[in-house]
Symmetry: C2
Subunit: 351 residues, 2 copies
């Protein structure tokens, strides 16, 4: 790998002139520039990002922390984020932290040592401290979907509340009155938003809210989310000879993963959708139209989340480089929509 010095030697100039040519922040005579450029391309010179970063104190790398990448919604986020970042000349270090605070800390340490310019995260726990440490180290910070308390950072999230309210309202209007909600722990902002939408729709309809219908499948590694989902479905299962109004008649799954797991559980238990139980899924899944029955979904645009998060990060980085006045944290709420399909058709229509 040729260095700036070798280029300088070949061009018959000093290293600083080569640097000046490449940075373009200082006037250089045309003739000189030409000589430098041709020497550089002749040698195949490329500036060393490491040395640049060490010298200038800033890297062109972003850290992206997500629970796991195989969730299609998250894959879309990663896709959008990497594309936007790379268009701006930034590399993206992707970490799968599996909702595990310890894994999260490990990877945050790694990113900190690598001096990433910003971290975009779906944090694994409520503890703001590891992220605060990152900020102290000078990195910008963007949260997605959830944010620890007591820390100032930009935020991007889909509008789960509105979409959830719309979904629940639809279910209620089509005769579903015992609606189960499978979602995350309540420290997660988007979980609270979902529950808020769920409750709002119930209140609007004058229906009581049964806490027992809200369950939190364990999504950490090694856990068996199937267990709690099956328990809920079995416990509340609609008897084949429908006996009354106190049976579960709808399920809303709060993520793409859980949507699929729930589908499998319903399938395994022999519960018919939508005849016995209506099902509404959540996430950016391209197969929703094609499963049997086609799935009603709370749809979110993962790519846009990733793109917006990176855009926020780049803006923060820009500000911190130009020593601009700190702007207050920004919160971007992206639209989420309810897509109606057969899996939430009225029971009467099919049964």
């Amino acid at each position: 790998m040729p260095t700036i010095k070798e280029v300088a030697a070949h061009a018959g100039v000093s290293p600083s002139t080569v640097s000046n040519v490449f940075l373009g922040r200082v006037p250089v005579r045309d003739e000189t520039r030409r000589r430098v450029l041709s020497a550089a391309s002749g040698l195949g010179y490329q500036p060393d990002g490491l040395a640049q970063a060490l010298r200038t104190g800033r890297t062109r790398t972003l850290g992206l922390l997500v629970p796991h990448i195989t969730n299609p919604t998250i894959a879309a986020i990663v896709n959008g984020a990497t594309r936007t970042a790379q268009d701006a000349g930034y590399a993206v270090s992707v970490c799968a932290i599996e909702n595990d605070p310890q894994l999260q800390e490990t990877y945050l340490d790694l990113l900190r040592r690598e001096r990433v310019a910003a971290v975009i995260a779906q944090p694994a726990g409520e503890d703001p401290e590891p992220y605060a440490a990152l900020q102290r180290a000078g990195a910008s910070l963007i949260f997605m979907d959830r944010r620890p308390c007591g820390i100032m950072a930009d935020y991007v999230t889909p509008d789960y509340r509105t979409a959830m309210r719309e979904a629940v309202r639809h279910l209620i209007e089509t005769g579903r009155h015992r609606i189960a909600l499978l979602t995350g722990p309540t420290w997660i902002d988007s979980t609270r938003e979902r529950i808020a939408g769920y409750e709002a729709a119930h209140i609007e309809a004058g229906l009581p809210i049964d806490e027992e219908l809200i369950a939190t499948p364990d999504r950490r590694p090694g856990a068996t989310p199937t267990a709690s989902i099956t328990a809920l479905l079995r416990k509340w299962r609609a008897p084949l000879n429908a006996a009354g109004g106190s049976c579960l008649d709808a399920v809303i799954a709060g993520s793409a993963d859980v949507t699929l797991i729930t589908l499998a559980c319903l399938h395994d238990l022999g519960i018919r959708v939508p005849d016995d139980v209506a099902l509404v899924g959540t996430g950016q899944v391209d197969w929703a139209r094609f499963v049997a029955p086609p799935l009603s979904m709370i749809e979110i645009d993962g790519g846009e989340i990733g793109r917006r998060a990176v855009t926020l990060a780049l803006a923060r980085i820009h500000d911190s480089e130009s020593a601009a006045d700190p702007r207050p944290p920004e919160a971007i709420v992206l639209p989420a929509t309810f897509a109606l399909r057969a899996s939430s058709a009225p029971a009467s229509a099919a049964g």
Copy 2:
């Protein structure tokens, strides 16, 4: 951010002693080590990865180039790769190159400037040169799924040939004699493997091979793969009043993406699966069981591909750091299996 010097000052030792403590390659008196460690943790010291990399000439970052991340098989690869890398203390820069050689070159340049220790790639074209340049710069190189000619590098791929032969054999045995194959361009190794398996099964059955049945949907950005798939399906479409043996009666989709697109096309054209046409998909998709009808799949383990690729990369990095004799390139062929489901049931069974 505290530096090694500040830690040294606080501990009353020299910077090199602090370095020795952290690297652990040189004996240090226990008392000294304790003092250094407590000073370090008191100050919140963390070694600067940039400076280390600049000094030692090696970084702890891997580059991962894939076409796009939203393909679930690829998401699984990325997931497996990042987990394995991070367990070894390596960060992973993920790039979505969309089968675009130019985008690929841009990102390879970026990774080269960042001095990544290794690049793991599903290359976007046949040209080995950009990768050769990377090797010259000292990076290790691992290919997945396809490899340019004229370049020595490790390789990981699923055994598409065997699985494809099994799938085609099954289709033929159940009465499908006009089997369309949707796959990639033939410069891609795994495409050739698929075609080899496809042809082997035909030859074994004494059936002729019709080149017109092998199509290559354009998967580059902006392209409409739907067009060529629809053209194929429409052209060969089985008439509702089946008139003879020269109609298309089965389709094999060569990737997870194309599987879904094909499903949509079949759906839109009103072609019934499996009554009119049998369908076999490819990839690691968790929803195959749940679509209507459940999809027969050539299943591959993306996570394992990612893990093995990173393992190979780490081994190469280790070798190059210890100046070991260069081993010959390694090629790992992972099993792929054919999973039989309703979408490839005999036509007679349903029609």
